[in-house]
């Protein structure tokens, strides 16, 4: 049995009255949603000038995330596809405006007016094809393009997502990049199965200092690259005698890219969110001469 709601039913059906009710009665869900929103808001890095901003909450659901936005003094507009969840939001007297809409159809918002966007556990729904007319790639494309249009220049969008696997994360990130966003994934508590949370931090406009991906929480000194540093001592590839080789081949050999180059490229691909094999002492090692 799977516990992923995405695999059970389309969002407008899964979040029925009964499921929506949980979002008012379960203090655990409420607390988690509030925490996720707070962290998303932190990653949004809005200027600290005390002026309320106009934010979008995509997949606002019952308005739990919106409550946190209201508490920090911002105005927000929420999109959701589930009428039941929006009913709960109305009951909770959410301060922001609610819109029944499908993010995969694009957000019908005027260009350049929004100061930031957050989305808590919603974007992964786009990867599902729940109707015959749904094409996840098209839906991702129209979502990110419409979002890019409506954000002001330099504005950020932070999406907390639960990607099912690496391929899905890559898919989402790939379409965000194609729409023109700069940014990457921030993984909080990468070593904990329960507390691990992934945030897509996207910035509108070309990459710059301000668009550098913020640091994740609970990440101890890049433990994933620990092995790599220990392997650094044997950084030099084993040299083999080239005496018997013809001159031409010797020259060609000099152009071969070394371990450092390979490590750098792998790091680059990792930053893009691609699946990259881990760095070991075998990385970019030269083959034996007899091979």
């Amino acid at each position: 049995m799977t516990s992923r709601p995405e695999l059970k039913a389309p969002p407008e059906i899964f979040y029925n009255d009964e499921e929506a009710r949980k979002y008012t009665s379960s203090s655990r869900i409420i607390e988690i949603q509030a925490q996720l929103t707070e962290r998303a808001l932190e990653l949004l890095a809005l200027p600290d000038d005390g002026v309320p901003k106009l934010l979008l909450d995509i997949g606002c659901g019952s308005g739990l995330s919106g409550e946190t936005l209201t508490e920090s003094g911002h105005q927000w507009i929420g999109f959701d596809i589930s009428p039941s969840m929006l009913d709960v939001a109305l009951e909770r007297e959410a301060e922001g405006d609610l819109i029944l809409g499908d993010m995969g159809q694009g957000l019908g918002v005027r260009p350049g007016v929004i100061d930031g966007a957050i989305s808590i556990s919603a974007v992964q729904w786009l990867c599902n094809a729940d109707k015959s007319c749904h094409e996840p790639r098209k839906r991702l494309k129209s979502f990110f393009e419409s979002l890019y249009r409506c954000l002001a220049r330099g504005a950020r969008a932070v999406f907390q997502v639960y990607p099912e696997n690496l391929a899905q994360r890559e898919l989402i990130l790939g379409y965000a990049m194609r729409a023109g966003f700069a940014g990457g994934v921030v993984v909080d508590f990468p070593h904990s199965a329960k507390r691990r949370k992934e945030y897509l931090v996207l910035t509108c406009g070309p990459p710059s200092l301000s668009s550098a991906t913020p640091k994740a929480k609970g990440e101890d000194e890049e433990s994933c690259s620990d092995e790599e540093s220990s392997g650094d001592e044997e950084n030099q590839t084993v040299s083999i005698s080239d005496r018997h080789r013809p001159r031409k081949k010797q020259k060609l050999n000099k152009k071969v890219k070394g371990r450092e180059w390979v490590l750098r490229k792998k790091e680059q691909m990792r930053r893009k969110g691609n699946a990259v094999p881990q760095d070991t002492k075998y990385t970019a090692r030269k083959r034996k001469a007899r091979f």
Binding site: L54, D87, D102, G108, C150
Partner: protein, 122 residues
């Protein structure tokens, strides 16, 4: 739905080039008082399509807004109050939003506009 949101929304139907502003057909308007925040309003004036806001507020039965807004008017408390009232406090509770180009109607129930598109409109 506040007029702030109405001012941000445009019709998203495939092939529509000018989906803004959505025409409002009013059935019920409610007023909810919201805290007055001049900083936010000053920030918003540049982003708002002022003409559309004036038209929308007249349809909603509030005719106090001047026809044109200039940056100098931001100093006047009187204008800011009116602007605040039109933008933040007038809610379209029941009614319809109509796409200006295709005439497609988006119903508004309990203050929530239904912007879901049909398959052939995407």
């Amino acid at each position: 739905m506040r007029l702030l949101t109405h001012n941000m929304l445009s019709s998203n139907i495939k092939g529509v080039t000018n989906g803004f502003p959505l025409r409002i057909e009013v059935e019920k308007v409610v007023e909810k008082s919201v805290d007055f925040n001049p900083d936010f309003l000053k920030n918003m004036l540049a982003k708002i399509e002022y003409k559309a806001l004036v038209e929308a507020s007249r349809i909603m039965g509030y005719a106090e807004l001047p026809d044109h807004a200039e940056p100098s008017m931001l100093e006047s408390d009187d204008f800011l109050r009116k602007f605040h009232h039109a933008l933040m406090e007038l809610h379209l509770e029941e009614g319809t939003l109509v796409c200006p180009q295709t005439g497609r109607k988006f119903p508004v129930n309990k203050g929530v506009p239904n912007m879901l598109l049909h398959e052939d409109e995407v």
